[in-house]
Symmetry: C2
Subunit: 328 residues, 2 copies
């Protein structure tokens, strides 16, 4: 199976590429060829012996999508996007990449489909940012998408295009509304959501972390490991089971910051918890207050998507995957 | 007040233009200048003494939106669209007009807003075709938009863009999800929904009309008069009351074909009803079965939008407005 990952240099893209070259998909299919694309150079996972192509490419450039798709992959994972903060700060860049880039990709597939009958699976990374405004505490699968950011708008438009192109038979699309990923590895960044990971990741290596919101703040999150598993599962899902609504809210854990901290205490002790410094930031608190707190993702659960059900497991996944099983 | 109507040669566009040049808006504002645009030449309503411009223009052509907006109207009514059947038959044309055309309009306003601070009201005609799939008998305001046609997809994307451009302050947008308009004047056409009007309009002038679906078929409809009133009301609505979800499902009447026929009997007698010929058409029945049957448009009702509550009134509106008050 020839797999194309667009956004392969990102955190999830890298983990996913490493995962699928090592482990066959659950239906037994193996990665026979790999194309990795991103705006910065992606890395081919070590140990992959099949043909691999890396492309440093911007989907919004003329001909970029044609180039990307020239190998006619069987499955395309479209994970590339300008993130929320940047799409809000730079209106034109956000629409160019997240909207025009996605459309260029879909249009190029459509043309090839109509000319050659090629009909790949397309797995599209959407986001819970498609929800906004005055939503209920627990959002059901049939709740309206009224994003309150340009990023969320662009993702919601991508979902609509994916559904229409799939209904038309141009490709076989599945959209995954990904939750916040926690614990996100790497350095602290300036994303408003960064502290959800920071208050776990930094204390586990003996560093301080700032908590800018009240302990009662509730959010919807899952591990990088689960996110990789969502993509793996979407790759092999039977379209007949998905039906005429191919965009799915992924399962995750609805947890408060206070519950995150209790889990940290239970896994890593009081010493770790002592590294959390409470420094209320009203700007971040206001942004986070607009985010969805919980979902009832019945469709995804019925289709076999699974996520952690307690935060200790999310911390342990991070310790296993990023810290070699050891706490500082 | 300078009013621009895009799609001014259409049925609703013409009725609306005639209405607003005669009657001041409910806040007392009058039309001081009128720009009418469509792909076929629009007609300036007789009796309008202010400056009027008519433009025969295709929004998808380079420079068309700039040309259209050069007079910097105070309110823009965007009613232009490729209809459902044509957007389904011609994928590229539907996206070009309903998607690229709408985006070109919005982008041109954005550029002018950022350069000059011009910030018009934009009233956007969406459609109940944004709903599709397995929806409830009565669809609430917060139900997900999962269109099952390319037309519905394009309208849903327009709604998302309208909301984001409004949130950003580029213009002040209101989107109206219009119900099926009944009784639609004019000749019978080949639209799948045509019979809802045909079984009333034709018998009222002594002509036969074909009914291709069972009497139990339920649908959501309102008169052209109500549609004009929706646009008038959207023109003067206080944005603060609309909030962060500017797209609204309009009120209408949920009625079965059997109830339509009973209303025809009560208004025009057995002689009219005898002109209805039942010729079941499984293709049309299947299309219509996928359409929304009823809504609970609480937000629009709370904002003061009103529609007929019985079908006799819809028939009488047609007799008054199109037949000079007389039945054949």
């Amino acid at each position: 199976m020839h797999v194309l990952i667009i956004g392969a240099a990102g955190m999830i893209g890298r983990k996913f590429a490493e995962n699928i070259v090592r482990n066959p998909f659950e239906n037994g299919a193996r990665v026979s060829a790999l194309t990795l694309a991103d705006v910065v150079a992606p890395t081919v996972p070590s140990g992959f012996s099949g043909p691999a192509t890396t492309l440093t490419v911007d989907l919004t450039q003329t001909g970029a999508a044609e180039n990307l798709l020239s190998g006619r992959p069987d499955i395309i994972f479209h994970l590339a996007a300008i993130v929320s903060g940047e799409a809000e700060a730079d209106f034109e860049k956000g629409y160019r990449v997240n909207f025009d880039g996605t459309r260029a990709l879909f249009e190029t597939i459509r043309h090839a489909n109509q000319q050659e009958g090629w009909r790949p699976r397309v797995v599209y990374a959407s986001s819970n940012a498609v929800y906004g405004g005055d939503f209920p505490d627990v959002i059901p699968d049939d709740y309206i998408l009224t994003p309150q950011t340009s990023y969320g708008t662009q993702k919601a438009i991508g979902e609509l295009l994916l559904a229409d192109y799939t209904r038309r038979g141009f490709f076989d699309g599945i959209g995954l509304r990904l939750p916040t990923i926690c614990v996100r590895p790497g350095k602290p960044n300036r994303a408003a959501s960064g502290f959800f990971s920071g208050i776990i990741r930094e204390p586990l290596v003996g560093l301080d972390a700032v908590l800018p919101v009240p302990d009662s703040t509730r959010h919807w999150m899952t591990s990088p490991r689960s996110a990789v598993q969502f993509l793996r599962h979407a790759a092999i899902l039977d379209p007949a089971r998905v039906g005429d609504r191919p965009n799915l809210t992924m399962p995750a854990l609805s947890v408060t910051v206070g519950e995150q901290i209790e889990a940290l205490r239970s896994v890593a002790g009081e010493k770790a918890v002592a590294h959390i410094r409470r420094e209320p930031d009203p700007v971040i608190a206001r942004i986070v207050a607009g985010w969805a707190r919980a979902f009832d993702p019945q469709r995804a659960l019925a289709l076999g998507f699974v996520a952690e059900t307690n935060f200790e497991d999310i911390i342990r996944a991070h310790i296993d995957d990023e810290l070699g099983g050891h706490i500082a």
